[in-house]
């Protein structure tokens, strides 16, 4: 339908707002609509057997198809909750309860967010420091770089519970253990991107710095760091998403009572599928918001530095 409507419109001049909308927003909207439709269809299909059982047990085996569809979309513990159920649960656990309540996703989201941001900040600083060391020292480059790459083939997420439990045993609890996992996950993209970025200045510019007889420190501050900024932001987008995953998985071990990960785990223990999906939606929104935030800062900083839009 939407496709047919646009075809009949006259071709817009390139670069116009309408053209931009039609090129990008419309296809995305159609695909999202298709996903939601598929989701509803899936919910009906997956929940139907359970619902048929319920009808039979309730002594009303002569149900109509409309009844079946309506009931499958409104079960209490569906196999696949329908989008509007998830939306309702999300609304109920964000807007309808106080943000300080244990039932509020805002409270759990905040717990996750704070360790994500702490880990991300520490990981970014550590990653930049490592990259600066690697660019300036051949010994560091040769001995560290292979290990940094190998470190990421280790499924650190899988050992997150151990880190949490062991640090708990020595009395380090709360934010720090989770932030440590976030930091481990986020330093890698930063280091790799920054090594590339710090080496990105052209030979001609480095030579110019030499003719000025600039010290290593001056080359770093006045040439290498400014030209690495675009690389830094690209890496930060990857790193902040990784940091969030780290924080969520860090909340999985039992004993942690707050955070989106803990919410996932308790939902899985008690079979509260709607609660799991609502927590997933919250985590996804958080991830999207964080990446968008980095993008906005990127655009502002690059514009300030005189990059072409």
């Amino acid at each position: 339908m939407a496709g047919a409507a646009t075809v009949s419109l006259p071709a817009p001049r390139s670069g116009g707002v309408v053209a931009g909308l039609r090129r990008h927003a419309l296809p995305v909207a159609v695909v999202v609509a298709a996903i939601v439709a598929l989701w509803y269809a899936g919910a009906v299909l997956l929940n139907a057997p359970q619902q048929v059982d319920a009808f039979v047990r309730a002594g009303t085996p002569d149900y109509s198809t409309a009844d079946l569809v309506r009931e499958t979309l409104n079960q209490k513990r569906p196999v696949l909750p329908s989008p509007h159920q998830v939306a309702a649960e999300f609304w109920a656990s964000t807007a309808m309860v106080a943000p300080t309540s244990k039932r509020s996703l805002i409270y759990h989201g905040w717990v996750t967010l704070s360790s994500t941001l702490l880990g991300f900040a520490a990981g970014t600083l550590f990653g930049i420091a490592l990259a600066v060391a690697i660019v300036h020292s051949r010994v560091m480059d040769k001995s560290l770089m292979p290990w940094i790459i190998a470190s990421q083939t280790i499924p650190i997420l899988a050992v997150a519970p151990m880190i949490i439990v062991v640090l708990n045993a020595v009395g380090i609890t709360g934010l720090l253990p989770k932030a440590l996992i976030s930091m481990y996950l986020s330093f890698f993209p930063i280091t790799v991107g920054m090594v590339k970025g710090l080496r990105s200045p052209d030979v001609i510019n480095l030579d110019l710095m030499r003719t000025y007889s600039a010290t290593k420190r001056q080359v770093l501050w006045k040439l290498r760091l400014p030209s690495s900024v675009p690389f830094l932001f690209t890496s930060m987008k990857v790193a902040i998403a990784a940091a969030l995953v780290g924080a969520i998985v860090g909340e999985l071990p039992t004993g942690v009572v707050a955070g989106l990960g803990a919410r996932l785990l308790s939902g899985s223990y008690y079979g509260q599928t709607v609660q799991i999906w609502a927590a997933l939606v919250a985590a996804s929104l958080l991830a999207a918001a964080l990446v968008a935030l980095v993008s906005v800062v990127e655009r502002l900083v690059l514009a300030r530095m005189g990059a072409r839009a």
Binding site: V28, A29, A279
Partner: protein, 284 residues
């Protein structure tokens, strides 16, 4: 005493590496040997520091077991570790990896034919890559049970989108000149695909295969935290943590690290063999 030993080891390792890096190897083979030796020396230094620090400062094995103790555990518990490895990696992770990468690749081939779909799916695919997809693990365990199926399902979902997005990007990587050349040959869509665009997309496909190789292991292990049979690396890690048998956990980590690195190395080797023409593999 211990501190002196630590400083000595650190100094020796650093001095050896500085000497190795400063040395000017005569031949290419020697240079390759040097490039392998330097990280090895660094790693051995690190292990030695770990061992001496743990024994010297008498750190409780519950907190951090010594490398020698972990190695002993690996040798002793070899059958258990192998059973866990084959359950999690050979069954769950590899199955999901194959299905996820395969379906992502095929979906990209289909989507590539419809420009409208491509413009709609790419932003969504990029967004999904940033989402914490591991979170679907509890749902998959509910749907597919405690067995291998749910682990594979998590891995499929985690690996699908990186493959889709990368393959789509790769399929548009062939230059306009080469495409025009295909047109002048009157090549069909299939011919242009197999002879030009797929080969050009291979570096991107391998990028996704490499990203996915680590994601697959992570997905399979994390999914086991939400329910598993009494075998598997994730199951072992979570139960042994509960019993504070940390040396066994480290043994599992060592197995996972070696498996992950080997898997990654294997994909990289395949990449070298397939995309030998790519500029990044030219001899310097």
């Amino acid at each position: 005493m211990t501190s002196a030993a630590l400083l000595l080891i650190l100094g020796l390792g650093t001095a050896l590496n500085v000497a190795l890096v400063r040395a000017a190897p005569a031949s290419a083979a020697l240079r390759t040997g040097r490039d392998v030796a330097v990280p090895l020396v660094f790693g051995v230094t690190l292990l030695a520091l770990w061992q001496v620090a743990v024994t010297g400062f008498a750190i409780s094995p519950v907190l951090l077991p010594a490398p020698a103790a972990i190695w002993g555990k690996i040798v002793m518990e070899y059958p258990t570790l192998w059973a866990d490895f084959s359950q999690t990696f050979l069954k769950g992770a590899l199955l999901g990896y194959a299905i996820g990468c395969g379906s992502g690749f095929l979906a990209a081939l289909l989507v590539d034919r419809v420009d409208f779909l491509k413009r709609g799916l790419l932003p969504i695919g990029n967004l999904v890559s940033a989402l914490p997809i591991v979170g679907v693990a509890p749902i998959m365990v509910m749907w597919f049970g405690f067995g291998v199926g749910s682990k594979a399902a998590v891995v499929v979902i985690m690996t699908f989108f990186p493959m889709l997005v990368n393959t789509l990007a790769g399929l548009s990587a062939a230059g306009a000149m080469e495409r025009d050349l295909m047109r002048t040959y009157a090549a069909s869509h299939g011919q242009a695909l197999t002879k030009l665009r797929l080969p050009a997309a291979m570096p991107f496909v391998f990028n996704a295969l490499k990203i996915n190789s680590t994601l697959a292991l992570i997905g399979a292990i994390v999914a086991e935290f939400f329910g598993s049979p009494v075998v598997g690396m994730g199951f072992r890690i979570s139960t042994e943590v509960g019993r504070l048998a940390i040396d066994m956990v480290w043994a599992e980590i060592a197995v996972a690290a070696v498996a992950g690195s080997l898997f990654y190395a294997l994909v990289s080797l395949l990449e070298r063999l397939t995309t030998f023409w790519h500029p990044s593999f030219r001899a310097r």
